[in-house]
Symmetry: C2
Subunit: 344 residues, 2 copies
């Protein structure tokens, strides 16, 4: 049990070849005869040998400008939100399928991102995806200098030398506003996810922009933290007033469900008779029979595929410049909204 691990030298000895031959047998493009490869593979199987990926990574430091580890960093926030849990699951599957390993870092706030990235860089990750958070300009520059591509998912790259994949947040907000305006709503409220975060802000900007165009203004505004509980509390505040909103748009579905549950089951309101409700993301629970939440759907599969493609292309081609991809959301109409009078 404390015996030394099996190395390529052990395999070489058993197969009667040099250690180099063992190494070549495990490199698909190496020049080696089929006969030798077969002998090596048999010996390897007999000994239970697997090449040491760490040692392989060390060698790459000699032969490439930058050391490669075969690992991709994944920095994740809000994994409790089903939208992100699903994204992590699907993104990690995609990256694994392409032959990279995932070095996961769970962070609970924006402030932890730079430290997480510093740690990941010690492991010589070949690239990194950051879910719903940004990195500092200093850190972006460090990654750029090290040739480590960075993809922001669900966030803007702004002026940073990094790639990004995200939904058109402002446009999504406009879709929600247009639909509520067409439905004849007058007192329209918004529930923000986080005032410091561009995702929520842009959704709100697009939303308010259309209200203003239609000659209305935002009737009420609350701030949550993207959780169900914060949605419920925002709902309680919105409907404890004398004059109540007749429509609510939330920066995420999870918060919308908080508003929906408290309205129906704690305040005995009828949705959509008493007010209309729209969420964002179109998580699976939006479509549950008892919810039927109207929502802005993100084309998740396409977005994740795009993020994976950009990441891999940039890892294989380090001097490609960063790319920004924005996807349009779609309004999915369900039963939580009063419909426009002249239904098409």
């Amino acid at each position: 049990m404390d015996r030394k691990a099996i190395t390529s030298y052990d395999v070489a000895r058993l197969a009667g070849v040099s250690q180099s031959a063992v190494s070549r047998a495990f490199s698909p493009e190496a020049s080696i005869s089929e006969a030798t490869r077969a002998r090596v593979m048999n010996a390897a199987r007999e000994l239970g040998y697997q090449p040491n990926a760490i040692a392989r990574s060390m060698s790459s430091a000699r032969n490439e400008p930058q050391q490669k580890s075969g690992m991709v960093g994944l920095i994740v926030t809000r994994m409790q939100d089903p939208f992100f849990a699903n994204t992590v699951a699907e993104l990690s599957r995609n990256i694994q399928a392409k032959g990279w390993q995932i070095l996961l870092f769970t962070v609970e706030s924006q402030e932890e991102v730079d430290a997480a990235l510093t740690t990941l860089m010690r492991y010589k990750i070949d690239g990194v995806v950051i879910l719903s958070a940004i990195l500092s300009g200093r850190m972006a520059a460090a990654c750029h200098a090290s040739g480590i591509p960075v993809i922001l998912y669900n966030r803007s790259a702004a002026e940073l030398p990094v790639s990004s994949v995200q939904i058109e947040n402002r446009e999504g907000g406009r879709l929600a506003a247009d639909f509520l305006i067409e439905g004849g709503h007058e007192r329209i409220a918004f529930v923000a996810g986080d005032d410091a975060d561009s995702t929520s802000r842009l959704r709100e900007e697009g939303f308010v922009e259309r209200l203003v165009t239609a000659g209305k203004k935002l009737f009420l505004r609350e701030t949550g933290d993207y959780t169900f509980v914060s949605g419920r509390e925002a709902g309680l505040r919105l409907f404890s007033r004398q004059e109540r909103p007749d429509a609510v748009f939330c920066a995420s579905d999870v918060m919308s469900l908080g508003v929906l549950h408290t309205a129906r089951h704690e305040l005995n309101l009828d949705v959509p008779r008493d007010f209309s409700l729209i969420g964002f993301d179109d998580i699976p629970a939006a479509d549950w029979p008892g919810h039927q939440l109207t929502s802005i759907r993100q084309p998740v599969h396409r977005m994740i595929r795009e993020a994976t493609d950009i990441l891999i292309e940039m890892m294989e081609n380090p001097d490609r410049s960063p790319r920004t991809r924005r996807f349009s959301g779609t309004l999915i109409v369900r039963g939580s909204c009063r419909l426009p009078a002249k239904a098409v």
Copy 2:
């Protein structure tokens, strides 16, 4: 941008010390004077030097019986289920906090586990946690021989030389049965999560055991796959019959919510008047105002802490023998069940 990475030699040159001194400056227990350490640290800061964790891992192969990487493997199934998403989030936070990195592997079926572990072992992980899946005896032996501790979370170790942390599934099933029997239910159904998986089977065994003791037998039985959709479909099958169950116990909360939504909103049944419903896990959505699902709660925080503690203790102390820890669940009574007549 294609310049070589900064190494300890660069720092040594700038600080005017040997490369060994740089290495010692970054090893907390190394013997080095404070003055030298300070000079090294200044030079390191100036150059933006960070020790290469991969190279450090290589060196450890020389000095320890087994190479250490500072990485822990995490093999995960069913991340879409909030119960597991929350577990991954909390477990990874705990392990990170103790100074280890997480090498994540997402698998979609039991069959992928051994291959995932083989890949992870190439990276010389110091230990591995497997969420809701098991490994083969052959693989368990390989890990044991390599001194890599394995923790099964939410599964039994059975005869394998691995540790495990899980809920008392059979006991949880008994709690559910007792409560339904006390409530005077007669036609009691069970919805399995997966017939091949011990978690669901044990919950069913404990459940049926108590029914039998009370002179009843299982009225109906359906099988899902732990998803909301499969719960909904199981519910449709259960209630499309002539004679309907008056109680349903599901192997997970997510499936229970599927039953609940279809019953109330597609079949116009009243829960708990028409039937009582009990889930398992006590996920946050069980407590949402419109759900109020009675459920068996797992003491998640304590279980995750225990898994982390066992893992770390075994990584630091490789000849410790595997440990098995079982935790008791608690019945959380909410509005989805008819209550016992003689309410205590």
